[in-house]
Symmetry: C3
Subunit: 332 residues, 3 copies
């Protein structure tokens, strides 16, 4: 049964993107993306790898992206800003609007967005309220990209870059994927599961301490769509047979004993039991659940994954900006 915190599988914001061929207006949650839209995004992302290798472009040099972070997240913000700069564009930025804003005096995000979207060609927002990005999109003149909202909220570009990282190495159809960690609360893991389910003959292994297993909303969705999955609590029983290992963090305060953390950690010994061509992903930042001894392994994809964030965000920005006239032109 869905909880207040879980992904709404059919939400109003998903509507527009569910009809193929419709342009993206805002990017609020990963569920908006249909397979054709994902393929368009990934093809553009591949093109962006070449754009970056050639030193970037100046094609978007008159466009302004505003990075409006109500809570700080240095790497996500810098990744979006780098993406806009590699496109030749311009960036307005606030790294901690929550601490600085007049919203503390009782103003609502809506008024700020109405004003700031008049200055911007696209807004990247990280808000502290779970529906912050959606509320912003409702009043914004410019397209809005959700860069993470609330504690358990959406962070759709993370799920997109995760999937792109796999796509760059393997056909997505027929994959077997182990998703490991605190799966009941892990929005990243949940979003990836949802996106993977759109592809054919995928099999997922959800590996976590029993009390942190994937919630019924996702499992019901997978059942309905005939997607295969298994629930596991022992990493050893799946690690040798999957194509992709998606590792995430477990907060130590949720485990009774310190040993628990170690049982779900990946180090150079665990890696030895993986397939020779397995892929190891992690959304980062990491703590003990992914040992530095793994970094040199050619199967370690997590730094490449972070770099892919640049390409996917560049691609997403162009998909939104290409559809929009320049800011101001439609004002009155």
């Amino acid at each position: 049964m869905p909880q207040p915190n879980v992904i709404p599988l059919q939400s109003p914001a998903s509507e527009p993107a569910l009809r193929d061929g419709m342009p993206l207006k805002h990017v609020i949650e990963s569920q908006q993306f249909t397979v054709p839209l994902l393929m368009e995004l990934f093809e553009r992302s591949r093109g962006m790898e070449h754009v970056v290798a050639r030193g970037g472009t100046l094609d978007y040099q008159n466009r302004i992206m505003t990075a409006l972070f109500y809570a700080p997240s240095t790497r996500t913000r810098l990744s979006f800003e780098a993406a806009m700069h590699r496109l030749g564009g311009r960036v307005l930025s606030t790294e901690n609007a929550g601490a600085f804003s007049s919203e503390i005096e009782g103003e609502q995000v809506e008024d700020s967005i109405r004003i700031i979207s008049g200055y911007s060609d696209v807004i990247v927002i990280r808000h502290t309220a779970e529906d912050g990005a959606r509320r912003a999109a409702e009043v914004s003149i410019a397209p809005v990209i959700n860069a993470g909202d609330g504690n358990g909220g959406q962070h759709p570009t993370q799920a997109l870059l995760d999937l792109y990282t796999i796509y760059r190495q393997r056909p997505l159809d027929g994959l077997s994927v182990a998703i490991i960690g605190e799966l009941d609360k892990g929005r990243t893991a949940r979003s990836l599961a949802y996106l993977l389910a759109k592809f054919d003959r995928v099999k997922m292994f959800f590996v976590s301490p029993p009390q942190m297993q994937m919630k019924p909303d996702i499992l019901d969705y997978l059942d309905e769509h005939g997607v295969r999955y298994e629930l596991e609590s022992d990493i050893d029983r799946v690690i040798g047979e999957v194509d992709v290992v998606y590792q995430t963090r477990i907060r130590p305060e949720r485990l009774r004993d310190a040993d628990g953390l170690r049982r779900y950690a990946i180090d150079s010994k665990v890696v030895q039991r993986m397939k020779a061509d397995a892929l190891i992903l992690h959304p980062l930042p990491r703590t003990v659940e992914l040992d530095k001894s793994v970094d040199a392994d050619p199967r370690a994809m997590y730094f490449r994954q972070a770099m892919n964030g640049l390409y996917v965000r560049m691609a997403l920005l162009t998909m939104l900006l290409d559809k929009e006239p320049a800011a101001g032109s439609a004002w009155w």
Copy 2:
């Protein structure tokens, strides 16, 4: 009698701009602006609407604006930065220098400005001390724009964009204007009154609780210059006959009863009694004094007013930059 906090009607900083034809060097207070200078600014601002509609310009692509905010004000800062970017220029920015600066160790703003103005073609400063911007201008190599100083200090670009918003809709001569709120402390309201008085046959209605009425310095000034005004405490007696309603905030802690706030608030019912072609302005952010039910009314100008901030700031930047050689060229 003037109070320490009030607008000095003839202040040293006003001097240069009072002589027509002299170039603007710094923008410290709204009183600097003569009618011809206002008209030049507003004509340039109209031009900027077209520049923005065409996607901006690259004419100023080698110029650097430094936004030096000793206290955060996200929207004012982003508005200036967007203005510089739409001109093709470059931006250096600090959003909370007060918390971050070595000035806490005893250094004065003067040394910081001498150094930073060497790197900059124009400085936009928000300082916490009431004379911060003026002190900065005294030592700066580059032009300085005051983006708000002290608590009751000047914020000249706000007054300029307020007036520009009216100018875009109505001839300024012959206007009747209701200015509502906490008028004794409201720098925005005071500055607008001062600027409006420069035009012919204007009549102002100052509407506020009696203990917060406009101070004698402004009233004496209006008397001397033969400008008509009335003091009111009842919004209903003026709302139906004015061309412009300029609403501002009243801090609840200054009113004995909660009812007081409601008596000065504007909602969809109050709007019904306004002239069909009245203009409703508000400097934003707002709380209860301006209800969201008014937003859809075509007479609501406050989001357009915020957008006009972009055009006026672009225009102001070009007026300062066009007069200056590039930074560094006159250094030694």
Copy 3:
């Protein structure tokens, strides 16, 4: 005997630059710079004065500099950012990553740098740990410039711009230089002494309260290399005979009496006893040790010194960027 906090005179990071003709990869400490490398830097810096006078260049318009400040330092950060903008480049910036970063959750600087260096053509880092910049350089894909690390750590561009300021006015060979202040802890003073010792027939006067004198590691180094120096506690005995006065701060809490500070301060009276063509330098910010009455004296070089920071940082950026392919091109 070297203390944990002192400059390691022969450190691993110095190695590459000690061999002439090798390109600079990272700038971690001032000791990396040989005389030929200093001369290349200074000639480039002179060229940058002309570039700035002509309004900057767009040659580096596709390159991204990331300013990664774990502790705020507004002026150093803005100086680097202005340098990159005057080169036509682009800037990503965080002014207080220490407060904002996920590193508080246990992540190490290495992972952040690996990710961010993938987005950047050059990283300028101020870290709170003394070896922060070196650790960053070890994992960074892009060149790293140390913009100050730890409390007693290195700040190599400060020493370089100090020396450049003298170079612009005087031949460096044969100089007599008074270095005044809290010399045991003064990293700036120590680094300048080290760099000056590379030139011929230099004589240094170290002027400080006896308990704050220059530490034996530097004095031993000067002895070994036959560089002349004298230890002094009385400013009056040297002020009249030196070519350069390098003033630095003394923290009042390290002196027993308030008078002590005054005995090492420079004001207009002290300046009268200096040579007619002496140069007065100070790294700024200043407090009581350098009186504002000195500012108008033509021998006061400290604001020019700050401006030279722009030219030296521009020169350094080009030396690093010219050697590197654009980011991303060498990724896999």
